[in-house]
Amino acid sequence: MTLAAAPDAASPTAGPPPPGTEVPLRGRFRRLLTPSILAGAAVVAAWILVIAFAGVLAPYDPYAVAGPRLSPPTGEFLLGTDTLGRDVLSRVLHGARLSLPIALATISIAALVGSVVGAVAGFYGGIVDAVLMRLADITMAFPSILLAMAVAAALGPGLTNSFVAIVVVWWPIYARLIRGQILSIKEREYVTSARAIGMSRLRTLRKHVLPHALTPVLVSATMDLGMIIILVASLSFLGLGALPPSPEWGAMITEGSANFYQWWIAAGPGLAMVTIVLAVNFLGDSLRDVLDVRTRVR
């Protein structure tokens, strides 16, 4: 055998890697430990603990009268009491068990539905693409809160229905995002190469196309989680989501809005929402920095 046995002299590591090279993730994670990320992660971790141990952490029963009505924050009631004398802090802590899992489930299902629709549309093209994408366009033509209100109103109030309403409004964002990705990925040579060995279209999509398209969806979903938390609360605030006496944050703010001068009733859930939304946005930003090749510094 006279094959040139010497492996090709790899060009030395001089200069930036050629375009198309994927830099290993390990190196990119090293840039992660910035203050905003650590703060975001700490807040999110704290809220996860709250969800897990709300029963232990809450000083009172969130549904029972615990003291005098409309007590301002005191040493006994850290965030005051509401119109019925229930402890606001206990209700906020228990409310986290409703608001945050619902938001997480909503975003996950919306991303999943959107990804499947977008992937099918982008990969198969033609009439399938045209129909699915016009559907997405029509959905996106409505202001999201308005459409979600309409769907929730049609289904009737309740947290499950507001979950459905938001998924209906939100999937097109991911469908469009992933479709664009797929359109460019399916022209890559390794996809053509998969076709040339006779791999089925579905398997090609699953093995060689989708995995490359999911990163932006993951990033975008994380960034959107904050908005979804607010949207869930908004529907409850408008009376279309969770109903009293549920300690869902939006519903609590509604109760607080009737008692303007007893600011603590709305401030409790409001502050809770601010902390988690900010923390999630910080995390989403940094996740994008790590995963998104377009913002990668050389």
């Binding site: 055998m1 006279t2 094959l3 040139a4 046995a5 010497a6 492996p7 090709d8 002299a9 790899a10 060009s11 030395p12 590591t13 001089a14 200069g15 930036p16 890697p17 050629p18 375009p19 198309g20 090279t21 994927e22 830099v23 290993p24 190196g27 990119r28 090293r30 890559r188 040579e189 390794y190 053509t192 190469s193 998969a194 076709r195 040339a196 060995i197 006779g198 791999m199 398997r203 093995k207 060689h208 995995p211 490359h212 050389r298």
Partner: protein, 553 residues
């Protein structure tokens, strides 16, 4: 080409230049102690493979290094001024005015939103040479001088209305707008077809000679450097390994790397890698008869649908165990032909007879079975492998799809295939980004061979590789053909490579085959005008000793 000047001081003097980039893996030296001199009016070529530091060297002169790069040692003296000591504001006055730049990619270096003419007159305004109407007139004059017809009209057009060669002329016009003393041309024609390349380089020569401008030509193409430069500087791994007058370097290279580079670069004088032999009596493995491909195109927003003919009545055959080359420039239809041969693109009409059976219109299990027998290797070693899968997974995949063997048998086959392309089987666990370009292309070949195909379609399979690596892959292809009896369809724009690898060559232009023949006869005595044009456009370099003798058949 050297213009006599009273001033004998060199125009550009670089000594001991070291450039380092800070990366996540620590500092990397891209240029190490490079020395370079450019005298007034002469053309100096910097030759090297990718990663040799030649482009970094050019950017350092202009002070345009990437933000993470810095000059850590050495000096750059331009016309008596130390450029490295110059503050940014004064450097701006040098860039564009006294040192012009012609960048590589004509597609991305013009602003698509600004008319071409305004992009040129902007240079005059920036450097205070001319403003308003005067700037406009000078820009039009300049467009005319780089050979753009009807420059007054073209002045108002946008970059997308120009072809690649025309855009490169515009970039040359911009580089030369202020009649600089030095023009840095960084791979000015790498993105262009060979016939266009010749026209553009001739133009560059003519203009710089008439202006007395010195040229620093950065290129990977040794033959091109030999043809165009007075002196050649060879770079390897950041260091200058050889430098001297072109003829001397080519005739009597002192450095070992230069010698290897010269030996590896295929030229029209290199011996063929395959023996001509007698045509085999057996029936050809593939016979293409009257193949056509039309694409519907729409002219304008409401225009009528029209048919664009990408491949027009193409017929040829591929004898078993032989290599058939298809040569052409971009848009000639050669890649579309490859896609139809691979059944990746349906043909509009015509037959592809594979082993006595028409395979156009195959579907389902028949198509699946056909795929085992014809496999592709594509151009780009960086795009051809899915970065998420290891080398082993990539090579095994065809076996999995066709359900060949158990997992253990597949593992053994993968190791065997990797050994066959001269790769260490231990590489099976590596990911593509850990491999060099040549290693990746070997993996792509191993994958193509996994199903024991009879025909391999090589679509520009060596075009993106550095010349030394390219030579190794060509040797590998020839060796595999001899051992496995493979038939190749080799699609390329590079006539020199086609000449040494193929038994039979077809020249394509605008979707048609204009000339066919064995490389020996076709290249020695081309009949069609276009073939002659192609051959004349290839940079032949300075005469080499072996060229004095008659070309080998």
């Amino acid at each position: 080409m050297i213009v006599a000047t009273d001033d004998e001081r060199p125009l550009l003097e670089i000594s001991g230049l070291t450039v380092a980039f800070s990366t996540t893996r620590g500092p990397v030296q891209a240029v190490r102690g490079a020395d370079l001199t450019v005298r007034r009016g002469e053309t100096v070529a910097v030759v090297g493979e990718s990663g040799s530091g030649k482009s970094t060297l050019a950017s350092a002169i202009n002070g345009l290094l990437a933000p993470n790069g810095a000059v850590t040692a050495g000096t750059i003296t331009f016309d008596g001024t130390d450029l490295l000591a110059l503050p940014e504001r004064r450097m701006n006055a040098v860039r564009g005015r006294r040192i012009g730049l012609v960048p590589q990619d004509p597609m991305s270096n013009l602003n698509p939103l600004v008319p071409v003419g305004r992009q040129i007159s902007e240079i005059f305004r920036i450097h205070g040479v001319a403003t308003g109407r005067a700037a406009r007139d000078r820009a039009i004059e300049l467009l005319g001088s780089v050979g753009i017809p009807d420059p007054g009209h073209r002045y108002r057009q946008y970059p997308h209305e120009f072809s690649g060669g025309m855009r490169q002329r515009v970039l040359i016009a911009m580089g030369l707008a202020c009649r600089p003393q030095l023009l840095i041309a960084d791979e000015p024609t790498s993105a262009l077809d060979v016939t266009v390349q010749k026209i553009v380089l001739d133009l560059l020569d003519e203009l710089t000679t008439s202006m007395g401008t010195a040229v620093l030509l950065v290129t990977h193409d040794l033959a091109l450097a030999a043809e165009r430069a007075d002196r050649v500087v060879v770079m390897h791994r950041g260091a200058v390994v050889e430098c001297g007058p072109t003829a001397t370097v080519l005739a009597d290279p002192q450095d070992d790397y230069t010698r290897r580079l010269l030996a590896a670069a295929p030229s029209m004088a290199t011996d063929s890698l395959v023996d001509g032999g007698t045509p085999t009596a057996a029936r050809p493995v593939i016979e293409v008869v009257g193949l056509r491909k039309e694409y519907p195109v729409r002219k304008g927003a409401f225009g009528r649908r029209e048919q664009f003919l990408a491949v027009d009545d193409v017929s040829f055959s591929v004898p078993r165990g032989r290599t058939v080359g298809i040569v052409g420039e971009s848009g000639s239809g050669k890649s579309t032909t490859a896609k139809m041969l691979l059944m990746l693109e349906p043909s509009t009409s015509g037959d592809i007879v594979f082993d006595d059976r028409d395979v156009t219109g195959l579907a389902g299990p028949d198509l699946f079975a056909f795929r085992r027998r014809v496999q592709p290797v594509f151009q780009n070693p960086y795009a051809a492998l899915d970065p998420r899968y290891t080398v082993g997974d990539t090579v095994r995949e065809p076996l999995e799809v066709h359900r060949i063997g158990t997992r253990v048998e597949q593992d053994a086959r993968v190791a065997e295939l990797l050994a066959q392309v001269a790769l260490d089987p231990a590489l099976a666990d590596r990911y593509p980004h850990e491999l060099s370009g040549g290693q990746r292309q070997r993996v792509a070949i191993a994958r193509a061979l996994a199903l024991d195909p009879e025909v391999v379609i090589l679509d520009e399979a060596v075009s993106a590789l550095d010349v030394l690596v390219q030579a190794q892959i060509l040797d590998l292809l020839v060796e595999l053909q001899r051992r496995l009896g493979l038939s190749y369809v080799f699609i390329s724009h590079d006539l020199a490579v086609v000449r040494i690898l193929c038994h039979h060559v077809h020249v394509m232009r605008d979707g048609r085959i204009v000339e066919s023949g064995s490389p020996a006869t076709l290249f020695r005595d081309p009949q069609h005008e276009y073939t002659r044009e192609l051959l004349a456009a290839i940079p032949i370099g300075a005469p080499r000793p072996e060229e004095v003798e008659a070309p080998t058949a």
